[in-house]
């Protein structure tokens, strides 16, 4: 079992300090002592509602938690096993972090706000290549065309602006951006939640397809148990910053041991009932 991530006792506290020089530090526990593993080749679902801490966990995995909130207190270990090396993502900076970013990429929830509306699709997708690789212009162009095609878009879309695309296509651009550097791991933070139902299914199929093509291991964060049932191998249920249950998707959903998981299952109304 190749463990890509080993997360031990991850805790994130957000400071609610109002003034820069004040002394009373009040902290909100966004994530409390979360521990789990992430295995190569799997799709791991992280499920929870608002305030569960799932987005905070995804931001730790993407090493952007400190960028979003400088004053947050992060403790614990987020170990990434790349081949034979083990790196603690929470302590990685500079060049080493850039190397890691080539391997771990992300897709976010709202396709509109995840893209700089002033750049063309081509430039948006090119960004990781410019920052993380030394490819020549031609090589970059080739990679962009390739990833566009794999994501169901065409070469002509390179010079178009985000507002010329439909919501589903926008999310495809975001996915293409994540995959253009051919990462090992994809962290998807509620990538379907902003989309219409009929489009959600399309993009989910795309994820499945791309998982094969790029040999990806995916951490899929969502609140929708129907998606988890269909796409995730294992599942983590979070509430109020803590993990309340984890395990094989089938087992957890058919035999939930935690009350909250049961409530979640009951509230998730599906058409197949």
């Amino acid at each position: 079992m190749n463990k890509l991530f080993e997360i031990k006792d991850l805790s994130v506290k957000y400071s609610s300090k109002k003034k820069v020089f004040s002394n009373n530090e009040n902290y909100v526990n966004a994530v409390e002592s979360v521990s789990f593993d992430f295995i190569k080749g799997e799709v791991l679902g992280i499920v929870g509602e608002s305030g569960s801490g799932k987005s905070t966990v995804s931001r730790c995995l993407l090493s952007i938690i400190k960028h979003i909130d400088k004053s947050s207190l992060v403790s614990g270990n987020v170990v990434y096993n790349e081949g034979t090396k083990s790196i603690d993502l929470l302590k990685t900076k500079g060049k080493e972090l850039k190397q890691v970013r080539k391997k771990i990429q992300g897709v976010f929830q709202d396709p509109d706000s995840s893209m700089n509306q002033r750049l063309t699709a081509g430039k948006i997708i090119e960004e990781p290549l410019l920052n993380l690789t030394d490819l020549t212009k031609q090589e970059r162009e080739a990679k962009i065309k390739d990833v566009l095609q794999k994501c169901g878009l065409s070469e002509e879309d390179i010079n178009k602006y985000p507002n010329e695309f439909s919501a589903g296509q926008k999310q495809r651009i975001c996915i293409a951006r994540a995959l253009v550097v051919e990462p090992e791991i994809l962290i998807a933070d509620e990538p379907l939640s902003s989309l219409d139902i009929s489009i959600q299914a399309q993009i989910l199929n795309l994820f499945a397809d791309l998982k094969e093509k790029y040999n990806l291991s995916i951490v899929f964060i969502t609140h929708d148990l129907n998606i988890v049932k269909v796409f995730c191998d294992r599942l983590i249920v979070m509430k109020d910053g803590k993990i309340v249950e984890q395990g094989n998707t089938e087992n957890v959903l058919s035999n939930p041991k935690n009350d909250y998981t049961r409530t979640l299952l009951l509230s998730n109304i599906s058409n197949s009932s």
């Binding site: 820069v20 931001r59 993407l62 090493s63 952007i64 960028h67 979003i68 400088k70 004053s71 850039k98 970013r101 080539k102 990429q105 992300g106 976010f108 929830q109 709202d110 706000s113 995840s114 893209m115 700089n116 509306q117 002033r118 063309t120 081509g122 430039k123 090119e126 960004e127 990781p128 920052n131 993380l132 212009k137 970059r140 162009e141 390179i158 010079n159 178009k160 602006y161 507002n163 010329e164 975001c174 951006r177 994540a178």
Partner: protein, 352 residues
């Protein structure tokens, strides 16, 4: 990447199309830009130096070069009076000619020996807008003053916005102590008694154009800071900034390539009004005597001269510069309205 042919769907193009719909603003921008560009050609249009002289078989270009009077057999310590030279040459020799600009008077030229009465002289056939109290042609001074005033307005706005944007961006992006520092700086700067400072400074420095620009930028930069700070604060919490971090972008790249281009809305909408304010400021300072000093052509100075006479005795010194100032400012205000309309996303945004 193949060269991006100007995609009509780019945000810039959309805003520009929307701006063009605002006819008044669009035409005003066209007019003011053309006039400003032409004003740089004034030395060829309104000048005491002729464009070309052919004298005794040689060509001379006084508009570019200084020639001593002796070159043309004229008795004088400095340059010849080319208008008189033109008269004498035209009378005498058919082969020689003097090509004067369209309006043959300069802005800094003292015309005392050519005038019939004591200056300031009212508008006449030769001097369309009369002369000021030193005998200098008012028409020339008003036109050159246009170039100086607009240049001043543009430069002060440009540099103070650059400084202000930098401060706002740093303040908004880094937050914490940086933000605190800049916000206090803005507060302190805004509390400075601007006019008194200028008066004090002017009492021991006589500011030229560059120095005055520099001083004003130093006092004015806070204007746009807080607006840019607000935009940056809003943008930095958006997911495309997170995505940029994940794509390996450096902080510098994120600020310059992602956040700032999406924060220009207040900059563009305020810029024309800032230019207007700075032009008016220059006129006011010149009027009070704390701005540009003579012989630099300046509207404020002309008005000041006019006001020193009882009632509207020397009305052309007051009314003419004011009319020019009014037209200039109103054109820029129209442009500002057009920009504001182009950036206003509210009208049809409810279609979603």
């Amino acid at each position: 990447m193949s060269k991006n042919k100007s995609n009509i769907n780019s945000l810039f193009h959309k805003r520009w199309s929307k701006f063009k719909l605002h006819k008044r603003g669009f035409y005003s921008l066209f007019v003011i830009l053309v006039l400003y560009a032409l004003s740089f050609l004034l030395p060829f249009i309104v000048n005491k130096d002729p464009l070309i002289i052919k004298y005794n078989g040689n060509y001379y270009f006084p508009v570019f070069k200084y020639y001593s009077a002796a070159t043309f057999n004229v008795q004088s310590n400095s340059e010849a009076n080319y208008r008189k030279l033109k008269q004498t040459i035209d009378e005498k020799n058919k082969d020689n000619f003097v090509l004067m600009p369209l309006y043959p008077y300069g802005p800094n030229e003292n015309l005392l020996d050519e005038l019939n009465s004591m200056p300031p002289n009212p508008p006449a056939k030769n001097n369309w807008f009369g002369t000021d109290d030193r005998g200098r042609d008012v028409f020339a001074r008003v036109l050159y003053g246009f170039n100086i005033s607009v240049s001043f307005g543009l430069l002060v706005t440009l540099f103070s916005f650059m400084l202000g944007t930098l401060a706002g961006a740093l303040s908004g992006f880094y937050g914490g102590k940086t933000d605190m520092f800049f916000q206090r700086a803005v507060e302190i700067w805004s509390a400075l008694p601007f006019l008194y400072l200028i008066i004090i400074l002017s009492s021991f420095i006589t500011p030229g154009f560059s120095l005055l620009t520099f001083i004003l930028v130093l006092l004015n930069w806070v204007g746009i800071t807080l607006y840019v700070r607000g935009e940056v604060l809003r943008e930095k919490a958006k997911e495309y900034v997170f995505a940029a971090y994940v794509s390996g972008s450096s902080k510098f790249r994120i600020i310059t390539r992602h956040i700032l281009p999406n924060s220009i809305s207040p900059i563009v909408t305020f810029a024309p009004f800032a230019v207007v304010g700075n032009i008016a400021l220059l006129v006011a300072l010149d009027f009070l005597g704390f701005g540009l000093q003579p012989p630099t052509a300046s509207w404020g100075q002309l008005i000041q001269q006019g006001m020193s006479y009882p009632t509207l005795d020397r009305w052309w010194l007051i009314i003419i510069p004011l009319i020019f100032q009014f037209i200039t400012l109103i054109l820029i205000v129209f442009v500002g309205e057009g920009f504001r309309d182009a950036f206003d996303s509210k009208q049809y945004s409810r279609l979603k």
